[in-house]
């Protein structure tokens, strides 16, 4: 009864709000869509006015329907968002229900993406989009890795790209000097990056905030400069080329006998390897996410978050803050290293140019825009930023301008990032482990 009434009032409020939205859309569309000034062809430069009322009707209807849908199913607010700037995005961040829906929707989309693209665009047409998707996923993984350091533990790291570089160069050099395969190098690259994370972390983690940021920034640059100048070992500015491609359980993606296509009786197509790479980075990214989500529910993850909140209180509770920070740093670095070795194997060529400060800045921007500590936010921010970056390649000169404007706008509207709500890591529910139901009841004890 109560619920029905609530839904009723939600519907009424949503309709009202959507009508308001449609009205604004109508006012705007009348001028911007309804009237078109055109140059009459054939008669010199004479201008004439064209009316397009159908287009206006479509635009207004679209605004009404979409806004109604958003109000009813996504924003789910008792008072539908008011007009004005704050109404464009839901106030409390994405709610639990819609976040879950979004999560699984994105997951299904990510799994189906290559096949859907192949189906509609063919192998030739879909290649560039799958390539883009791989790039986005690489940044998702990097974002998730950095999210452990910045989002959970609250340590501002401006030199995250250093670990990306360590991972990439670890693989490239191990393959170059010892002929190791990708699958042996992947864990090694992660371990080496984590090792460097600890080496860097040990002296600097007593610093806080701005000071830590500056030191990590310097570290990122040091790694890049060393790679650039150690010509005999790393190839300096020439980089390293001929980095071996990964195999699928020993099957190379080559033409002819013994290759992947031959083994499965498929016709050889270079897109196979691209799709394989797509799923490889997808699995690596999901692994990162899985580990992070698991750790968040464990004492160490909770300690990271507590550390972000109040370091002094952590120490007063007997937490070894140095070790806690180091684990966050090392783990974040390890995932950066994984992503780096993937980058190396995908490109087949690496040089210090790929690991500039701008990369660190982009990864950090993804984490901050997505909402510190939010996994879904990182995905959305990666798609928007990296996808948007590539989509608007033609407007080269304006890219940075638009990029900056978007950042400013998001930070003004949603200062805590796109997904700002934080899910508690522990809840007292009937199926929560170790906590009995009688503690949940109110007014007792």
């Amino acid at each position: 009864m109560m619920q029905a009434r609530q839904r009723d009032s939600l519907f009424v409020a949503s309709v009202k709000d959507s009508l308001g939205g449609a009205l604004v859309a109508f006012a705007l569309a009348c001028v911007m869509v309804g009237l078109k000034v055109d140059v009459a062809s054939g008669r010199g430069a004479e201008l004439f006015l064209e009316h397009r009322w159908l287009a206006v009707a479509i635009a207004v209807a679209l605004v009404f329907v979409v806004r109604l849908g958003m109000n009813m199913f996504f924003w789910k607010r008792e008072d539908a968002p008011s007009l004005g700037l704050s109404g464009f995005l839901p106030k409390g961040g994405l709610g639990d229900g819609s976040t879950n829906l979004l999560k699984y929707g994105m997951l299904v989309l990510a799994v189906a993406l290559p096949f859907a693209l192949m189906y509609y665009l063919g192998s030739r047409g879909s290649r560039q989009y799958i390539d883009l998707a791989i790039l986005v996923l690489t940044y998702v993984m990097l974002g998730w890795g950095l999210n452990i350091v910045v989002g959970l533990a609250g340590l501002l790291d401006l030199g995250y790209v250093a670990f990306y570089a360590v991972g990439a160069y670890s693989y490239a050099l191990l393959a170059h000097y010892f002929g190791f395969s990708f699958w042996i190098c992947l864990p090694l690259a992660g371990i080496l990056a984590a090792f460097w994370g600890i080496i860097l972390g040990f002296p600097v983690l007593r610093l806080r905030g701005d000071y830590l940021a500056i030191v990590t920034l310097a570290f990122g640059e040091i790694i890049r400069v060393v790679l650039l100048n150690w010509y005999e070992f790393t190839g300096g500015p020439d980089g390293l080329s001929g980095i071996p491609r990964p195999s699928f359980f020993g099957l190379e993606f080559t033409r002819g006998e013994g290759g992947f296509a031959d083994f499965f009786g498929l016709k050889y197509n270079s897109i196979h390897r691209i799709i394989f790479l797509y799923y490889l980075i997808f699995i690596m990214a999901m692994f990162t996410n899985f580990v992070t989500m698991r750790l968040r529910r464990m004492p160490i993850g909770r300690a990271w978050e507590a550390l972000r909140e109040d370091e002094i209180a952590c120490r007063a509770l007997g937490i070894n803050t140095t070790n806690t920070k180091l684990t966050a740093f090392a783990l974040g670095a390890m995932f950066g290293g994984f992503a780096g070795s993937f980058f190396a194997t995908r490109q087949g060529f690496i040089s210090p140019e790929s690991f500039t400060f701008l990369e660190s800045a982009i990864i950090l921007a993804i984490v901050v825009l997505g909402g510190l500590g939010s996994q879904v936010g990182v995905v959305i921010a990666s798609i928007v930023m990296i996808g948007g970056f590539e989509m608007f390649r033609e407007f080269e000169e304006y890219r940075m301008l638009v990029f900056g404007i978007i950042m400013v706008v998001i930070m003004v509207w949603k200062p805590r990032g796109l997904v700002s709500s934080r899910t508690p890591s522990v809840a007292l529910s009937k199926n929560a482990k170790g906590i009995s139901a009688d503690l949940v009841q109110e007014g007792h004890g």
């Binding site: 120490r315 007063a316 937490i319 508690p424 007292l428």
Partner: protein, 243 residues
């Protein structure tokens, strides 16, 4: 009581902030099962003494002994694992974490083995926290935050509880509630409490023994009742404050 060895013994402690000396040779004892309070004006060095016990900052001279063991130069996180727990000045709860998560953090070092039991005890002491368990710490009122800070400290099952100004900025009725809870903890659980307070009247009424600190030295000591009746104490700390 004084025949046995003290649980916490502070001897000739001198603590510095850079070149500035904050404590000038402080001696103080806390015996097992006692509530001991340290009162004094702003900037007397009360909190510094409490923090010296915790190891940040460490004493330059003198010694801090707990359970017969010298803990003067141990790192803070190790000291806080020996059965000492602290509710720090300004509460310092974790604002974006829920009440429940805050409490879990308190028992983390002890491994949260008796979490359910300890949680029940905490909710018994402070029923308000139970109502607010899924709320974020930062959304609690000042009094509730103080309750949370104390409850969080208790989650590690300490033997000695250090409380730094639990009455700071709270309404008198909330202060009474919190002091009652402290008395209850001492009476029922035998918890030893070392309480630093500015609210001298409440603190001395509650405590078995008290110390008065002025400019980094202990100037007076005695039972709570004795100190309450002393003219100097009345004049300096209780004038107009007794209610």
């Amino acid at each position: 009581m004084s025949a046995q060895q003290p649980l916490l013994s502070i001897r000739g402690v001198e603590t510095f902030y850079g070149k500035i000396q904050a404590l000038h040779g402080v001696d103080l004892d806390v015996y097992d099962g006692e509530i001991v309070t340290l009162i004094g004006a702003n900037g007397a060095g009360k909190s510094t003494l409490m923090m010296t016990v915790c190891g940040t900052p460490q004493a330059r001279n003198g010694s801090v002994t707990y359970c017969g063991e010298d803990i003067t130069y141990k790192p803070t996180f190790e000291i806080m694992r020996t059965g000492i727990a602290q509710s720090p000045e300004g509460r310092r709860i974790f604002p974006r974490m829920t009440v429940l998560e805050n409490l879990m953090m308190g028992g983390m070092v002890a491994g949260n083995e008796h979490f359910e039991e300890d949680l029940r005890r905490a909710f018994e002491l402070f029923p308000r926290l139970k109502e607010r368990q899924q709320q974020r710490g930062g959304t609690l009122s000042g009094g509730e935050q103080q309750m949370l800070a104390i409850a969080r400290a208790l989650m590690s099952r300490p033997r000695l509880l250090l409380l730094d100004e639990p009455s700071l900025g709270l309404a008198p009725i909330i202060v009474s509630q919190i002091f009652e809870a402290i008395a209850e903890l001492n009476r029922a659980d035998g918890l030893t409490v070392f309480l630093v307070e500015q609210n001298a009247y409440h603190a001395l009424k509650l405590a078995h023994r008290g110390y008065v600190m002025v400019n980094g030295t202990i100037t007076m000591t005695g039972t709570g009742k004795e100190l309450l009746s002393r003219e100097e104490v009345k004049a300096a700390y209780l004038e107009g404050g007794a209610h």
